[in-house]
Symmetry: C2
Amino acid sequence: MPKRGYHHGNLKAALVDAALQLIEQKGPTGFTLSEAAKQAGVTPAAVYRHFEGREDLIAEAARQGYEVFADLMEYAYQSGQPSALAAFEATGRAYLAFARKYPGHYIAMFESGISVNRTPELANVAARANEVLEKAATDLSEHIPEEKRPPATMFSAHIWAMSHGVVELFARNSPGRASPFPPDDLLETGIGIYLRGLGLVPPDK
Amino acid sequence: MPKRGYHHGNLKAALVDAALQLIEQKGPTGFTLSEAAKQAGVTPAAVYRHFEGREDLIAEAARQGYEVFADLMEYAYQSGQPSALAAFEATGRAYLAFARKYPGHYIAMFESGISVNRTPELANVAARANEVLEKAATDLSEHIPEEKRPPATMFSAHIWAMSHGVVELFARNSPGRASPFPPDDLLETGIGIYLRGLGLVPPDK
DNA sequence: TGTACATCAGTGAACGCGCGTTCACTGATGTAC
DNA sequence: TGTACATCAGTGAACGCGCGTTCACTGATGTAC
């Protein structure tokens, strides 16, 4: 850590980083503005030069998380093209990868209790992330005979729910709950079975 | 509310109820011992006649939740007999029904951060609930040809993850996240597709 | 039935703590001339 | 290049608050005789 004088130079980013680290360690609850300030080497009052308050700081962390999340999902979606199936599976994997690589962001986004409608900015970027998953689902559902095709939003909701469940129950080292399988495998196989159920993957192994 | 004198008569239960109500309203975080005491019409200090402290009160709420949960799961399992499939589907529905009917308990159990290994009692009752789901999965998996049969624990983990995900994302009126479908339907169809993927349900509608 | 007494389940005052937030302030930086 | 000055980004002290927990206490209840 380089010495610094009276001015920090990069305090806003440093505060977000500190917040993410604290959220990751202690949950969305354990996080305090004062502690984040302390970790950034600054007085609590200094935070108010950059944020409106505690909530605003968390919201900014979540916003940055959604930004990265949406980018990752888009990249994954592209990387699977032109196969709708490959694209879909890649977004599933990207979801889990994001949760593991950016746990602080993930918690800020999904467990901190801040509303996605807090600001238009936040709502937009969250919608962008959601649209990628929905697009992947729509592409894929076109391979299902129309009359037995479930709505794509339902379909993406299923995958999202399973992904989130795996993260919450098995990827986080949940207190006292041992994971029976590596979360990656769990999600991979789960999605595989689900897609077979939709007739999108050959029934045979 | 009947008048009461110096002695409450039923304080322990009243405190648990108050805690559940507060947890439901404000999340596992918003809950405070003092407020629970107040709601039960009692001094904060009185709580210590019945509990070791704040954490202990939450743990008791969670324990009671697991008790009800395990009972419900067992009942659902039995009610589907002798069809392994019916039994399995019933436990899935029971999961969601529990989460909706006992949101305070659900949060205390799965989101409050208290470890299931906090006390042997708590660990036991949690294990009992888990065993029901696993048993239902095992029964069902016997209908799958042995060589392509996934381990029953994996299978129950998938269902658990999807159920939990549906609860967290769509059943709770998550701030700013609208549910695209009724959660019951979402879970029902999700499990249906998953089971079809396992070849346990005819591929046709 | 009455009384003495142990036990139980509350009270209320006090504690130390860390929190988020506010305020007047001041040191550092950048810019105009 | 030097100087005056506006602007910016911090400080540090203070605030009021509600928290969990402790303690000596006291009112109510139940039981033995």
